[in-house]
Symmetry: C2
């Protein structure tokens, strides 16, 4: 295994650029992951691994995972702890880092029509929220996630970290304009708009049609769903609150909605 | 209104210490808040405000809130934008900061026995998760939150920010040892332990006794509830998952559990 000790090594600089910049991720079609758990998920989900970086400590403590990394990655390098400190986004790095090719578990309009339950995120900006929603969707058996209206980049390290590996499993579709997308599928899907409105249908009363997939649409943290997107949906649903808080955290609201949705499935 | 321009001013140094150190918050019995929304909540909830700091921009843009701050606080100071940059924990500060006396909406064992629904957090370490749970508890009408087993400090700026004002409304009780606490209330409360275990009772099937308050116990992010705490509970409950993710984010799991709990109320 070749050893990298220079912080100026081009492979190291590439990793740092990919961790920091969406533009580089888009241009190169690559993203980065770190930590034993998510790297194991990546090997297991057959994600294409371009480069793996391991510390000597990791090699000694986790020889099996290290061997899997070497087998999965096109190139594997041994890195010093100084380089590790440069790569990591964590307080206590675990000593394993990979550069991955972007995922190909993509949805398209045809595959959507064969699904049962989808979530569309419209303009979600907080990486932690976006990652948590992907993790929850995976836990609750949602069949895919549609990213609309310029959500933040799912390949940013913070999103990847928050998904706890779910990103690598969840089928994804990107679309520019949620309202247009919903109109194009009118009659072929059943769409529900999550809104903060006491007059909307309480989520637990929603009954899904059995003949079409359902798309649950969730808006951004600050401003919720746009009026245009809500109007393009078949139903407006809400979470009835008993208490005092004006609203829920976006990831929490999405979780409660998905929870009720999969119960009614 | 007196003007502060020196970063070495003792009032400014006190704010910075309170924002950064639990030890200082504990010693002085004070904590800090920033931003228009949470400060308005504090005035509204009659929190004791020791000091308010306002920028000129805030005074000009929000004269009503500024007047409320002056009325509520023992001392109000005009600060420069340079000082604002020193005080803030946000990317885009709003120009209003307060030093508050710690809250007195406290629970004790007797008040607990008059409540219906309580949540006990055991060793929750992530400030964002803790804050989000407090916000969700408030939204779902939970009557109080018990903090056990060295949860992170609810008065840290990150928790305060994540609660979106709910911290100021929620009755709180601190206790050192969750298992001991539950044993001391044995028979007088009904306690449910949230666990990741396929054989535990699905949360939606839990029926609460009407003659006693219910305490839902939620463990830490990493390791969940301790065996001792779970054993001290009357029932073990879980969230049945259909999908692939091994577990949910702690704040998401707490939200789904509280949601089901308040539905059964």
């Amino acid at each position: 295994m070749e050893r990298i000790t220079s912080r100026e090594n081009p492979k190291i600089k590439e990793y740092v650029r990919l961790a920091g910049n969406k533009k580089d991720r888009d241009q190169l079609g690559l993203f980065v992951i770190e930590g034993k758990k998510v790297c194991l998920e990546a090997f297991c989900e057959q994600v294409n691994i371009k480069t793996a970086f391991l510390t000597r400590r990791f090699l000694e403590e986790h020889p099996e995972t290290a061997a899997q990394a070497e087998a999965a990655a096109e190139e594997t390098y041994l890195i010093s702890e100084e380089i590790e400190a440069k790569l990591t986004g964590c307080k206590t790095p675990q000593g394993i880092f990979c550069v991955c090719k972007k995922l190909d578990k993509l949805l398209d309009v045809d595959t959507i029509l064969n699904k049962r339950l989808l979530v569309m995120l419209c303009g979600v900006q907080d990486p932690g929220n976006l990652g948590t929603v992907l993790r929850t969707a995976d836990a609750f058996g949602v069949d895919g996630v549609i990213l609309a209206d310029n959500c933040c980049d799912v390949y940013s390290p913070k999103v990847v970290r928050s998904t706890m590996g779910s990103l690598l499993r969840t089928p994804l579709l990107w679309t520019k304009d949620s309202a247009e997308f919903l109109r194009s599928l009118h009659g072929r899907v059943y769409s529900a708009a999550a809104v903060v409105d006491r007059d909307a249908l309480p989520m637990e009363e929603l009954r899904l049609p059995v003949d079409r997939p359902c798309i649950l649409c969730i808006g951004s943290e600050g401003s919720g769903l746009s009026a245009g997107t809500a109007a393009a949906c078949d139903q407006r649903v809400t979470i009835r609150m008993r208490g005092n808080a004006e609203s829920l955290n976006a990831a929490v609201a999405a979780a409660v909605l998905m929870w009720e949705l999969q119960k009614n499935r």
